[in-house]
Point group: C2
Chain length 347, copies 2
């Protein structure tokens, strides 16, 4: 059965090229995909012409407007009504597509998605949820930056959404939730994380609380889902990205700086390529805006076609797993059990 996804053709550092090339890659792997592609026809048409295979899969919707990377969310809301980003989200609301994918301005995308799609029943605030490689298996983490401050109840809602997300995208039966903190002992951290931990400990299924985790535990894959506020999550994400990139670049330097380095690389190449593939950030590209009444996936702005195709795959997967219906259902059942727990933790 075909699955229709809206694409923001103008979002991302290397748009529109990576969007169209990414759509072609995604289609190759998953021929059921169909796209509504929003953006400047004059720039998108030549890109589409490179991929005859996309002719039947893509419907191009022309709009000259686009939201730049530096535009503030409030401005994007007011002046971006005909932007490629806004029209892609509108298409989700109108049921013309099952999901939207954009590599554009994160703040603008979140603001537009919140206003246009609204939150799911029982969810106060949406969160950005991504997936990262670890020593063992991939780990989901939220919030990556939608909410700079969160109260304990919000963190518990994130835990429910993260559980459903990990089941859908990572295929974990009963995902273990970790709460990011500065130590694993009960007394560590501020009031918010301690109260959230008290609530999660007493929470009914689907919550399976694994306690506090530290940065090193995330990297070791100690839990399936890491819950934190958007400030800490965003800093953690960008530190991890930065360190990983620094290592990749330094390794490359070591292998290209000397003749022995170059020779050594050639000999060890198969093992090094496997290593590179394992930690390739493009393979983990695509963060979902969880808690909205619609599937919206944010691709990294600096990604290439392969990374963008992965974000499309994430969107398709989340739609097919009926993630939002499951969140609504779990949250409904959970809320009844949650309220007395919240009351107890507050008192």
């Amino acid at each position: 059965m075909s699955l229709r996804i809206a694409l923001d053709g103008m979002g991302g550092d290397a748009a529109p090229g990576i969007v169209v090339d990414g759509a072609a890659l995604a289609c190759e792997a998953d021929p059921e995909l169909r796209f509504l592609l929003f953006g400047d026809e004059g720039r998108l048409k030549p890109e589409l012409d490179k991929h005859p295979s996309l002719r039947r899969a893509v419907e191009l919707v022309h709009t000259p407007d686009a939201i730049g990377p530096e535009v503030k969310p409030s401005m994007a809301l007011r002046q971006g009504r005909n932007s490629s980003m806004r029209l892609a989200i509108d298409a989700v609301r109108d049921g013309r597509v099952a999901a939207a994918v954009s590599a554009g301005n994160t703040g603008a995308l979140m603001a537009i998605a919140k206003i246009v799609l609204r939150t799911l029943p029982g969810i106060d605030r949406p969160a950005i949820c991504g997936v990262f490689p670890s020593r063992s298996r991939p780990v989901a983490m939220l919030d990556l930056g939608a909410n700079v401050a969160c109260d304990a109840g919000t963190l518990v809602q994130f835990a429910v959404m993260g559980t459903v997300f990990a089941r859908a995208l990572l295929r974990r039966e009963t995902p273990v939730i970790g709460l990011l903190n500065v130590g694993t002992e009960d007394l560590k951290g501020d009031d918010v994380v301690r109260r959230a931990a008290a609530m999660l400990k007493q929470s009914p299924p689907p919550i399976r609380f694994g306690g506090f985790v530290e940065g090193t535990d995330i990297v070791d894959g100690a839990v399936d889902v890491v819950v934190t506020d958007g400030f800490t999550g965003n800093v953690a994400l960008k530190i991890a990205e930065g360190v990983a990139r620094l290592f990749r670049d330094s390794l490359k330097e070591a292998f290209t700086g000397t003749l022995r380095g170059k020779l050594g690389y050639l000999v060890a190449r198969p093992a090094l390529l496997r290593l590179r593939e394992r930690f390739d950030p493009r393979r983990h590209n695509g963060a979902m805006f969880l808690g909205l009444n619609g599937v919206v996936v944010k691709s990294h702005g600096g990604t290439d076609a392969l990374g963008f195709s992965n974000a499309i795959r994430v969107a398709a997967d989340l739609v097919r797993q009926d993630t939002n219906a499951r969140i609504t259902e779990e949250m409904g059942a959970f809320r009844h059990a949650l309220e007395p727990v919240q009351g107890a933790a507050a008192s």
Copy 2:
């Protein structure tokens, strides 16, 4: 001129071996060092006997008590009065040594140091300040975990202390301060970081404010000193540690898993060893408890002798650069200028 440093002989995962071996390494590089070594004589004596060169440099002070890694700070304060850690800090207070170094329990060490040494004039809260490798040159960062929550005024005090620290330890003439945030635009982040930024912008020398920085900027070495609250700083530190370790381990696996990998390693070895040395965490071991009326350096608990010797070097360097007197002086001059700024930002 000789410089006396107190060592907590019983702190650290591999104590007392790494403490004594680390002291020997430090002495080799810096023959002016003298040590007061606190701990269990029965365990320290055999370690000392391995290093005849230390005979004249070390004075052993026996105590059977030690503070374990899991002991809570409050318990360490009440029951640890004769512990090796406490006696090392007492020696700083009494002027018998110029500094103390411990690889023990961080929370206990901070609690004891605060009670015994008190804060410097003008400083409300001490902070943990460490140094990290970056793409270009090392970067100092504070707070790494002493204060889970900070107000804007505290972050500004950290900026003054960080400036003096970077001058002393990193030899930067006029260090640029970055404030860790989730984006670099003025509107990003919560009230605390925005207010701190407003205050830092109007701050007189020694503050040279470079604006907000993100995780990737730290890794790229965009500023000399990164200021943040202890919650975010601790998470950032442990994520960076975790990712770096994961990369090192995975690279090792790639080079040992296959015959081609092993051969490639042998050929590229000189370049790979240089790379390893550059990012060796032991070379950056030793975080200072800044803002206390005495120099206390915390070594990573899991370090080895080389790492511990580096923590000793950091302590010696900070003493010789008269870091605490300089903080008091800068803070005194700065406070007069700070108060109206604080008032303006609060209104």
